[in-house]
Subunit: 204 residues, 4 copies
């Protein structure tokens, strides 16, 4: 089985996920900038964050499948698992925003990020295993420092949102900072981050 | 007419069906794990079940059309019939879940599964008939034991939900078990199930 | 400019139109077959009618572009016009069904069918004009009897719904019969209808 | 990385954006033409305007990528930025229409148009920069007079809606005229507008 139709289907699902989140934005009741900001400000920023994450997954998915040769049953279901976890973003994004960034919804959003990272990793490993000893994909991803940094970052966010400052905002703010940092890490041009990561990660 | 545009269109429709079901998930009113589970727990599991079924149909559709050479009018309309039946899943899923798994909605969900199996079978036969005596597709599907086991499984579920324990939960639970089993049968790796099926089905 | 991306975009839009109509189906409040039929029965049949019409347009679009060589600005905008008119089906379908088939909504649905037929005809002519004197597409469509029969059929429906039996159901029933007949004419296998049409249309 | 999958993904997102706006159209409560016009008239015209703008972006995007050779990280993110801004159209369209064309929502719609123009320009420049000194794309777009006329037109609209006649309709009407003119400029056949633009812009 060739990868082209799996890619086309994944593109379709990701395009829908990334776009339907905008349907969750409430129309402001008032007709001025203040009520726009009050009703939609947070929603817009949250939508942007999730948009960027789905964009990152689409881009990484795209790169990864350029090095995949064929689709086995395992790859197919690992891919569907990833799509399932990503399809929950409209729900977790909407809950986080509607709750005005309460503790549990911020934890759940972090779990969604973590779940997506795990599903992506499983898909990657499934492809690598299918390619045998000198897998092209394994050589291409190398040490994959970005991929390794992300889960601890999400975990930090989850733990802060759950346990730090349960009656105030500090834990939630740290968590959101972790999620934003996780997105920025993938978006900023590769060379700069790669160099930074190389220095930090040199004893690896 | 070539199969590529029919496949692209079907991919688009299936991608939308599999994704819009997540729009039916209600955002919890409370902001804790308990209200998440109460509001969305069942919805999430039901969504997962339908996601897996649509994923199975996408995957089987994908395989089948690799062995189809051309699209006749009959194939085109048999394919649209299948897409129509599958497009009802967001509706039947949502009703089953909102009714908290009442008898009739569980029956209707089973009828949807059955309808999809029938529409898929009709599409398969339409392609095979078009290919003539030594159809490549007929040889490839062989005895198609999975395809043969599914309808009786759905039927069992439908009958149990309708007639067994009409004032309690037993019939519904058996029905759901049948539907889940039907999905698992397609998801678990082929070799193992094939061997099991071969043993069970050997006198066939 | 090649036709492939225009076809892919049109496939995407048509796939969405054909699928989102199912989101309009109301979930029954009761949990039995009677309330399913009362709440959703008409909605389901109306959805089926619109699904078939969008399916017909997709199929005809598909065939037509196999004979189109290149995309000019005119073709591009004629195609977008067709997509716009077709994108109104979820709206007109939903109004017709929610109004329980009141006169005006049935007229508007007919106008939507008529608008789609006109937009399709304009697109066809735009492609033919671009192909010059011995247009491949012109030769392929021949006398296009189906295409010629549809608009008078829709017009009959519109006029009946508007003027016949304004306080009763007769006009609406005739209109719906016209719309259903228009769909059936395209769906039933070509040879049979072609022969019927040839006999009816022989003095043409 | 090749451009085909980026184009397919963009097509998917644009197809969804252009189609889901129809979901915002409210079904009229009455069942006659008057209530259709009252409930949906403005909505339909606004939808048409946004449909045309998204159609223009799809068409321009399509043309531009025929001259793009490869996808760098910069192109990928510039493209996602454009898709993000365009994905806000369902929201800004809906607000503008629901507010019955109040001042601020009309300003925000103009800002959305402006944002899309800027994002498109950035994407164009990113591709050109990647192509080096004798970029094919740069030569093809030439002086790009349409692209240069659009932003001042949107800006005029925004300023009029914000500052002209704050208690009446004049400012809003001028703004809408600017937005409609901006769309028409791209839709009318190229030769005529090109000639007009050439005359107006000759000292350029």
């Amino acid at each position: 089985m060739k990868t082209s139709r799996l890619e086309a289907f994944s593109d379709g699902v990701l395009a829908i996920i990334i776009t339907i989140m905008v349907l969750e934005l409430d129309t402001p009741e008032g007709h001025d900038f203040e009520s726009l900001w009050r009703t939609t400000g947070h929603g817009l920023l949250t939508y942007l964050l999730s948009f960027v994450y789905v964009g990152i997954y689409w881009s990484n998915h795209h790169h990864m499948f350029q090095l995949a040769d064929r689709v086995t049953g395992g790859v197919l279901w690992a891919n569907l698992s990833l799509l399932f976890v990503l399809s929950l973003f409209p729900f977790t994004t909407s809950w986080m925003e509607e709750s005005d960034f309460a503790h549990t919804p911020v934890v759940v959003y972090g779990l969604n990020l973590m779940g997506a990272a795990v599903a992506y990793f499983v898909l990657q490993q499934t492809i690598i295993r299918g390619q045998g000893v000198d897998s092209r994909l394994r050589r291409a991803i190398g040490r994959d420092l970005k991929g390794r940094i992300s889960p601890p970052l999400y975990l930090t966010g989850i733990l802060c949102a759950q346990f730090v400052d349960p009656h105030g905002r500090a834990g939630v703010v740290i968590a959101l900072a972790c999620y934003v940092a996780g997105a920025l890490m993938w978006v900023v041009p590769d060379r700069r981050i790669d160099r930074a990561v190389r220095e930090l990660g040199s004893p690896d």
